[in-house]
């Protein structure tokens, strides 16, 4: 499946193109749909605390761990067993819930989406291809 990069607003009326996917998270009876950045440089998936709240995850009762980004460190709360659905493919993932996530509130990375699908970035075409693995 080929997915065009999404134009996003920049300051000064410029445009940024980014690989985003529609995603629905499920935590028991709670569902939340948003758009996730597909980030080959991210070790694992993260969501912001506001999304965790929407999924009724008591993230502030989960012990804090620390992650690293190019801009420094961040506080994270590890939550296992969250279900994700992307283009009718459903899988379970471990999610870092991070405080003050910006600008992206949801990022998928190597330990989750990239384990489930072959992803080919074609930035020169402003698109990427995602091919989900088959499980018997």
């Amino acid at each position: 499946m080929v997915v065009p990069y999404s134009p996003l607003p920049d300051f000064k009326d410029k445009i940024v193109l980014a690989p985003l996917l529609p995603i629905t998270f499920k935590n028991g009876k709670h569902e939340f749909s948003t758009f996730a950045l597909v980030d080959s440089g991210a070790t694992g998936a993260v969501i912001s605390t506001v999304i965790a709240d929407a999924l009724s995850i008591k993230w502030n009762k989960i012990p804090v761990s620390h992650g690293l980004s190019i801009g420094g460190s961040f506080r994270s709360h590890r939550f296992n067993g969250l279900k994700a659905e992307i283009y009718d493919h459903e899988f379970t993932l471990s999610m870092g819930i991070i405080e003050a996530a910006a600008p992206y509130k949801c990022i998928l990375g190597q330990n989750d989406l990239f384990q489930r699908a072959k992803i080919i970035f074609e930035a020169y075409k402003n698109q990427f291809e995602i091919i989900f693995r088959s499980y018997n």
Partner: protein, 73 residues
Amino acid sequence: MKQNKINFVNLLKRYKDGWVGISQDHKRVILWGKTLNEAIKKSKEFKEKVYYFPAGESYSNFVGFILTHGSTL
């Protein structure tokens, strides 16, 4: 199969802050809330699936490199 482009520049141009609720076909903003919680409350009026996205963010110069605890380089 090629998906349709989701153009957040067009979708978000009228919104400077808060959260928007985007239609299931990703072509229209169907609700807005000052907070995500407010947007979710407004979504109860809609039967279709709503995709939430923050408004008022600038996405320039993002360098995505996230290493979570327990991972190694």
